[in-house]
């Protein structure tokens, strides 16, 4: 595939989908939830990672949908799949047995260690805003080879401490609920690999488990300083470089093949 620099305008959300899709590789087995993770995974499969294996937690095993599924159980996700498992097989077997390379999650809050909250805002016992429930997010973050997180870049979302750890990051909750401990000490493999936001891509220091800015959407006018301002904790931006803008093929696939109706992308 010859890659052409796009000349059209594009949104932060589109850049985010593209940046996330670029993390996925042809050999990967990827477990995705609905929303932007799914859009990004399908985008990767329709562009540079045609042989990638996409799993969805309810039933869709190695899927390559013609139309964007509403949810992980949508018949659109099932169409043309050749094996029709249950959540027991996808999650309780393939994921737990270590067959998933990349887990792809969205969330409401993320902290410097990649702890992700997709459960509630405020005190869990008296929430300000209760969310739908976290589905398989914790399982995926615990058991995939690495985790990629997609989240809007806002101060209220990039927080010093998440209100509730739904999905464990590098330093996560001790079993008694009081402190933080490195995930390896709990016997957890995997861990957050990247956070793809509306402003750039963040990665994690292997030893400290701390987040840093890896790259940012310069072509959309984003600067290191803006990223820092939109982040609720001190962020290392010293290693950051600009991300290249979407290729024409990427945007076209996104707009005409992956989500032509704009169901998630809301064009």
């Amino acid at each position: 595939m010859k890659k052409q620099i796009v000349e059209l305008g594009y949104s932060n959300l589109e850049m985010m989908a593209v940046a996330a899709s670029r993390i996925l590789e042809n050999d990967d087995t990827v477990l995705v939830g609905t929303g932007l993770p799914l859009v990004s995974a399908i985008l990767a499969k329709k562009t540079h990672a045609k042989e990638m294996t996409i799993l969805m937690e309810a039933v869709a095993f190695d899927c390559d949908p013609d139309a964007l599924p509403f949810c992980v159980a949508d018949p659109r996700a099932v169409y043309k799949t050749v094996w029709r498992p249950t959540a027991m097989e996808v999650m309780g077997q393939f994921l737990q047995r270590g067959k998933v390379d990349v887990g792809f999650l969205g969330g409401a809050q993320v902290d410097r260690y990649g702890n992700l909250n997709s459960t509630c805002i405020g005190d869990y016992n008296r929430p300000k805003r209760r969310m739908e429930g976290s589905g398989g997010a914790n399982d995926i973050a615990s058991l995939a080879g690495k985790t990629v997180i997609t989240i809007a870049h806002e101060r209220k979302r990039f927080v010093e401490e998440v209100d509730y750890i739904t999905s464990p990051g590098w330093r996560c909750r001790t079993p008694d609920g009081t402190g933080l401990v490195h995930r390896r000490e709990l016997g957890l493999n995997g861990g957050p690999y990247a956070v793809v936001s509306t402003m750039g891509v963040l990665k994690f220091d292997r030893t400290s488990g701390e987040i840093y800015l890896h790259s940012y959407y310069e072509d959309l006018g984003i600067t290191r300083e803006q990223v820092c301002e939109a982040t609720g904790f001190a962020l290392d931006t010293s290693k950051a470089s600009p991300v290249g803008p979407p290729f024409k093929e990427e945007l076209e696939a996104l707009r005409t093949v992956v989500d032509p109706e704009g169901i998630f992308m809301k064009y």
Partner: protein, 333 residues
């Protein structure tokens, strides 16, 4: 051979469910939910149900909005991309003084709990939940019930070191055995054998784990007919206590090969459910208004139902426009 007549009518459903029962509803969020049976349960005025499906969809939110429930334990309750579960959310964000408890699980741990229930074992090990607040004792949503409510395990989880291999810590999860399981399927044999396509989700496990299992289907078929799909039938008749034929029994959720999600329903329901008063009006019209399910379907109208029809090859309706903010007019006769 058909051993005994299992056929019941929709109006018999409330007779199978008692207050306080742990209720499993089959399907997955907005797909293949047993909506007609839940609709009948709500109409009968059931209270204090304990919902345990993993995950819940509009049937959970509808039962929340009609004040049928006092406990939920699941990994997700909602309408996926359509929108939030406003009725259920209000139970937690704006408690009204009525007893209400919610306990959080995950897709995998919810699956393992019902699998353990189907196996008749009291617990099963899991490798997730460590490092999260889901097992933080402070955030155990059922902590006040433990040791008191017999339908709730004495503790949420137990950590244990593997005594056989590498000594790693695993999380033991309590089995889940619902009192009643309601499933909607494409076909059910007159002997109770269930044919589901496009995803059984956790329904086989739930049918076996539950004390009573009832299956509604688009069509009840003969034993000979269900024999033809022997290699793909999903639930044996032995664990199906009663069956009923209810066309469009999963509306407004999608049924693989039969019909797609009803986007008009979701748009209108979500708008109504944001507000208690509007929700009352909505349920008065759509739940309590019709004298039976046939009349409910008439209220929706043939044209609308026809619009939902799935392509037999693809399993969904490829013509369906799905953005709620750009829907065409509700099809009307």
């Amino acid at each position: 051979m058909v051993k005994k007549n299992k056929v019941i009518a929709l109006k018999d459903i409330p007779g199978f469910v008692r207050e306080g029962d742990r209720l499993w509803t089959g399907g997955w969020t907005v797909v293949r939910k047993p909506m007609a049976m839940v609709w009948e349960l709500i109409r009968s005025g059931k209270k204090k149900l304990h919902l345990v499906a993993n995950p819940g969809g509009p049937e959970f939110d509808l039962m929340a909005g009609c004040d049928c429930i006092s406990k939920t334990e699941t990994n997700y309750i909602g309408h996926e991309v359509f929108g939030h579960p406003y009725n259920w959310r209000r139970k937690l964000d704006e408690p009204d003084g009525e007893e209400f408890y919610h306990d959080d699980w995950t897709v995998k741990t919810g699956a393992l709990r019902i699998v353990a229930g189907s196996m008749g074992i009291p617990f099963i090990p899991s490798k997730s939940l460590l490092g999260s607040d889901i097992i933080n004792p402070e955030y155990d949503g059922f902590k006040e019930l433990r040791g008191k409510d017999k339908k709730v395990p004495r503790r949420k989880v137990k950590l244990m070191d593997d005594p056989f291999w590498d000594g790693d810590t695993v999380v033991l999860l309590p089995a889940l055995n619902p009192d009643v399981c309601l499933i909607h399927a494409q076909k059910v044999g007159e002997d109770g054998t269930v044919l589901i396509t496009g995803g059984t989700f956790l329904d086989y496990y739930a049918a076996l784990a539950s004390e009573v299992t009832i299956v509604s289907a688009e069509k009840i078929v003969s034993r000979e007919e269900i024999e033809k799909t022997a290699e793909m039938n999903k639930i044996p008749g032995m664990v199906v206590d009663a069956i009923l034929e209810v066309p469009y029994g999963a509306h407004p959720t999608a049924l693989h090969n039969y019909y797609d999600n009803d986007p008009w329903w979701f748009r209108d329901y979500l708008e109504a459910s944001k507000d208690v008063q509007k929700m009352r009006e909505w349920s008065k019209k759509w739940v309590h208004g019709p004298k039976d399910y046939r009349e409910y379907l008439e209220l929706l109208g043939k044209k609308r139902l026809k619009k939902l029809c799935a392509d037999g090859q693809k399993g969904y309706n490829p013509e369906m426009k799905r953005r709620l903010d750009r829907l065409e007019e509700v099809p009307s006769e």
